[in-house]
Symmetry: C2
Subunit: 519 residues, 2 copies
């Protein structure tokens, strides 16, 4: 980025720019400290008079849709990531843009995956100028190496909704892939070969983009029910042969961990929740779909069955294990943000207690509350945690940007946030003096659970008191760090360039940290 831009120290002590890609930015001010005094973004009023009287918005193909939507140099193009590593659509969009000779597009995905490595040539030849969105894998590496023209901007799922709603990001054209749609543009992710469960990550795009294209490989007669995306927001619809690779959309490969260390972490987490009084009748939880999280879910099941209690709701990422809990009556509702396997899709289609949500309902910080705050315990991951409980989820300790934020920042607003993490990975400590990139402020992170001990944030005096007599291995975060260093040695802080390649937004749109070019 332009090196003349002024850097300011923000509320977590990081130097961040006051301008990114030519746009003014606000440094992170602390949790709940930034109170916006402006209005939401308002798109132009449309009128039915300019749309087909019979509601049929079908055009011949994706190219025609993009042409009619006025695809032009410099536009911001959004896509969603419900197809995960099975996405074909985003790649096709930029193939067409390239073929049309359009340049300097900004790609604004809700996240990108290894399959989008396909787009690197377009970053090189100027079809795409930059990516604003979480980058998993190859694109993150590309960005880390300073090869991307502009500065990447990473946001949480909720932060992405917030940024669009607040007008920080203006979308020219949104392309929404759907497993099922009607010619009017009503769409869902439930029915069809490209079933992804839901389409919540595209909700803001549909509501606020200038032009909205719905593409489907399963066009049905109006009405496509349920309409997770509402046709009233849609300009054009396209019927295509294939928009995703089913087995990569819902891989179904997630399995409970078999690693003894991870199982120990899972067991400690469940025991901690039990002793802290979190697991009680009517409680709620959110856990990821990783192997450790799934194991924690299994331990939760056992405890609930023993106690004869049930949870009021679980937040997903859903998968077969969570669905089983719902069907066994251990959980009354699944409030789901994305389905990770076909069992999740089936359950969402069949069971009205398996409810599809969106980043608006669940995570938008610039609304009148959201669902995250009502969750009793959120169990999340991290690449690094520091002695102030600040955590990192986007970079590795070598500085490489390899992961997205997902809903992680948003979930930090749950009543209790627990990070079950290994004390070290590949002989690199996870608990450290300082994290490479701050994604979440320590004040929101309550408990660190490792295979060698549990650290409770000193701010949570209530938890410290409750666990005072516990047999669990409660330690201080400094003790955990020391143990990690005794095993791995003291790591030197990785040396990075001054050049900023990416900015990390907080849930309120302020800048919490930056990512610098690796040397």
């Amino acid at each position: 980025m332009n090196m003349s831009v002024k850097l300011i120290e923000n509320a977590v002590g990081r130097m961040v720019p006051t301008e990114i890609n030519g746009q003014k930015e606000i440094p992170y001010m602390g949790v709940g400290k930034f109170i916006p005094k402006k209005r939401k973004y308002n798109s132009y009023i449309s009128t039915n008079a300019e749309f087909p009287a019979d509601g049929n918005k079908k055009v011949k193909n994706l190219k025609e849709a993009l042409q009619k939507a006025g695809l032009a140099n410099g536009m911001r193009i959004s896509t969603h990531h419900h197809f995960r590593d099975g996405d074909l659509l985003a790649n096709m969009v930029f193939d067409i843009a390239h073929e049309m000779g359009v340049k300097d597009l900004i790609w604004f995905p809700s996240a990108s995956f290894p399959c989008h490595e396909h787009l690197i040539p377009y970053l090189e030849d100027g079809t795409i100028s930059r990516i604003e969105g979480s980058m998993n894998g190859p694109l993150g590496k590309y960005c880390s190496e300073g090869k991307m023209k502009g500065v990447a901007v990473l946001r949480s799922h909720g932060g992405r909704y917030q940024a669009i709603q607040d007008g920080e990001v203006h979308i020219d054209i949104a392309i929404i892939g759907a497993a099922c749609a009607d010619p009017f543009g009503n769409a869902n992710g439930l029915n069809g070969k490209s079933a992804s469960g839901l389409l919540g990550f595209a909700l803001a795009d549909s509501q606020f983009a200038d032009k909205v294209i719905v593409a489907t490989d399963n066009m049905v007669a109006f009405p496509c029910v349920p309409w997770q995306i509402q046709g009233n927001y849609v300009d054009f619809t396209v019927e295509m042969d294939q928009i995703g690779i089913p087995e990569k959309i819902v891989s179904g490969t997630t399995q409970i961990t078999k690693s003894p260390d991870r199982l120990l972490i899972a067991e400690l987490t469940a025991r901690f929740c039990e002793e802290a009084g979190i697991i009680k009748d009517g409680f709620s939880f959110q856990a990821g779909a990783g192997g450790t999280s799934l194991a924690i879910g299994e331990f939760f099941c056992r405890i609930m069955k023993e106690k004869g209690i049930k949870a009021r709701f679980a937040r997903g990422g859903s998968n077969k294990y969570l669905v089983q809990m719902l069907e066994e009556g251990l959980v009354e509702y699944i409030l789901d943000g994305q389905t990770f396997d076909l069992e999740g899709v089936r359950s969402m289609r069949e069971n009205s207690n398996h409810v599809w949500t969106s980043p608006f309902t669940s995570y938008n910080y610039h609304s009148k509350g959201n669902f995250a705050g009502m969750v009793d315990v959120a169990i999340l991951g991290a690449t690094e945690v520091d002695v102030n409980f600040n955590a990192n989820v986007v970079t590795h300790s070598d500085g490489y940007l390899l992961h997205g934020i997902g809903g992680w920042q948003n979930c930090l607003f749950s009543k209790t946030v627990i990070l079950p993490i290994p004390l070290f990975r590949n002989r690199i400590p996870v608990v450290r003096e300082e994290v490479t990139t701050i994604c979440g402020p320590g004040e929101l992170i309550d408990v660190i659970i490792t295979e060698r001990g549990i650290a409770i944030n000193p701010l949570r005096k209530d938890l410290l008191k409750k666990l005072k007599e516990s047999n669990l291995p409660i330690k201080s975060i400094h003790e955990l760090k020391k143990e990690a260093e005794e095993i791995c040695g003291i790591m030197e802080k990785c040396v990075l360039s001054d050049e900023i390649v990416a900015a990390i937004k907080w849930v309120d749109g302020t800048v919490i940290d930056v990512v610098r070019k690796v040397l």
Copy 2:
């Protein structure tokens, strides 16, 4: 209204003001002719930081909610009419306002009913300055007699959404009564003693009002599923003993007509639809819940069974007859805007093919199309029709404003619009030289069906051609008028004051006609 305001002749030849209640207005320009070039209304950005961290927005009672919402002189207060003549809430709101000594409120209901006669003293003592919304019965009479301070503004269901969305109407406080809600503000009309089926008429209010209060007599633990109203838009929630009178919310008294004339009209309508080729496999229809409409539905059933076909969808107002068609498989989907009986509520709760809609999806003319245009045939009522097929639904021929517009204007965009009406009522012709109030332009009204003949709009050459060899009593609209006059005599046009007491908006926010004070 201020008599110095300039009147302009609009596209249907009516003299309408360019200013109403101090706000600039655009005269009706013709169907699809007004193309707005401005942005939607945008409310201020909220932040979670200013709402309870645990999502519990419950306050002690309705008064506290109104106080916390900042109820003050001159504010615009909105309510919805899903409780119909069983609504207790709107009356309570103004009882509290009166008790607090607040003055000059503008009441902005989605419609009002005879039960709201309770509010006339508040119109007299200045608690309420005027009503902007459809008025059924006593309040309409009150307005017609010129007793209300300002000018009433009547809008269709879709027009109300449009006006709020476009910022023509700013709501200070919305009060949303719900049969079921959680402390966060998620709400639906499905579960509880005050079940009204759905809450779509309050959708725009929830999205755009400054402050939103959800009141319920059935508070459940989060999550209240489905969330027809999303808690993310809600400021305060209130638990109350009773918000409506169940037997007046869903009266269940609607019966198929037994009148021989009405039955004849119904039969002619069904036969017309059959001969016009409208009733075919996969077709769609919208009919009201009046006695004649229900009879038409029965005739449709018979024809579908004979032909062995089914409808893709029916638009409701749902009732037990429509539910029966759904359950018998004659209709694949009900897309429902309001439920008229408990069978409608039950079906919507149980059957995922009985879908709740909103004025946004169904009727908003300022979006990228809406559902109305996809309906093959809409069967609607009218108080008067003129020789140019213009129709009236709000005033009687004596000039009294006694009905609301409902979704009537919006449904005129269906592919074929049929008005099955008696040729005269109480010896007053329904088909006349000129209607008292133009609510819908003749170019959108295709067929008038009376017990004494059927008139096809000359614009529909296709229908005239299709029905050329028909044995149905096809006549010209002039012939129908003449027959009416032969029986009833030629009516003198009712003489009204110059004073304008109400304005009738078209679906795009322009002024299509006015209502004048009765003498």
